[in-house]
């Protein structure tokens, strides 16, 4: 009888531990440090022209460098160089150049939601940190140069 109770308690403890691993980050989790270079390794992006680019095939360079983090807020620079024959987005009204496009961002209270907003453009990335080096992002911009896409970012 006692052995049965002990086994039951052990199983409950094991199950609780496994569930805890699978739960999303809680409000009191430590703030993740996201600084570093994040490479766009997978995904698609659809432009207002109807063109679709895929990651990483359509790009020579497609990355976001989070250059600074102060608590929950971030500064970042996006670098995008589309391969010849691939679609090119816009930064404001101008075609994207090889120079970096500035972004600012924030980590949510859950420690896993991340928003990155373009500076000088209206594109936003809404991301989820799925592990410490992987972000799953939805990206969109409404308007004359609309786009919609999803991107996996992996930190180098």
């Amino acid at each position: 009888m006692l052995a049965c109770i002990v086994r039951a308690v052990q199983r409950i403890a094991a199950a609780a531990a496994l569930l805890a691993v699978g739960l999303p980050a809680q409000a009191d989790d430590p703030m993740p440090n996201l600084e570093g270079v994040w490479i766009k390794t997978a995904g698609q992006i659809l432009y207002w022209t109807g063109e679709v680019n895929t990651f990483p095939q359509s790009y020579d360079v497609a990355q976001i460098e989070i250059t600074g983090q102060d608590g929950a807020v971030l500064q970042a620079v996006q670098s995008t160089v589309a391969r010849e024959g691939s679609a090119t987005g816009r930064q404001g009204t101008q075609p994207i150049t090889q120079g970096g496009q500035p972004m600012i961002g924030v980590v949510g209270w859950d420690g896993t939601s991340v928003v990155l907003s373009d500076v000088g453009d209206t594109t936003v990335h809404h991301c989820t940190l799925v592990d410490q080096n992987t972000l799953h992002c939805l990206v969109w911009e409404a308007g004359d140069h609309a786009l919609a896409g999803r991107i996996t970012l992996v930190r180098e």
């Binding site: 409950i12 199950a15 496994l18 659809l46 679709v52 799953h136 939805l138 308007g143 786009l147 999803r150």
Partner: protein
Amino acid sequence: MRKTKLSVLGPSALAVLVALAASPAAAQQETPNLEGTWTISDGRVLYWDGSTNHFAEDYVSFQVVISDQHEGVFQAAMMPVHDEDAARGYHGDEQIGADAYPMLGVIGWDGTTVVFADVEDTSASMCQLTDANTMQCIGWEAGERALAARSVLTRASD
């Protein structure tokens, strides 16, 4: 009886728990095909001037056609037909008529989050796919022609 109680946390149950623990909510899931004609069946939109529209009472019909899905991205067209006296928003500088308004869309890596972005207008919507043929959406536009909305989109099943 005692054995039955213990079996609740037996090997098969533990295997399920292991699988759950290994699958964080945002992990990559299969991408559903959303092509087809969706009808807005419920919800409300509030415009910058305080006027409102109710779905579907203030519309003769309001369809969203999703086409040309390529993996996670797709093209869409919004086709509202208002009742004659109903309030209506703007698309860019033009008051909404009975045209087809283009949108771009994307399905998130979780397989259930969907975002629509208007083309030539600054409205966007974020939706959750609650089953294969139903999406619950919130929409917004900031600025001079601001709006806030929520809606339910239903696809006619075959």
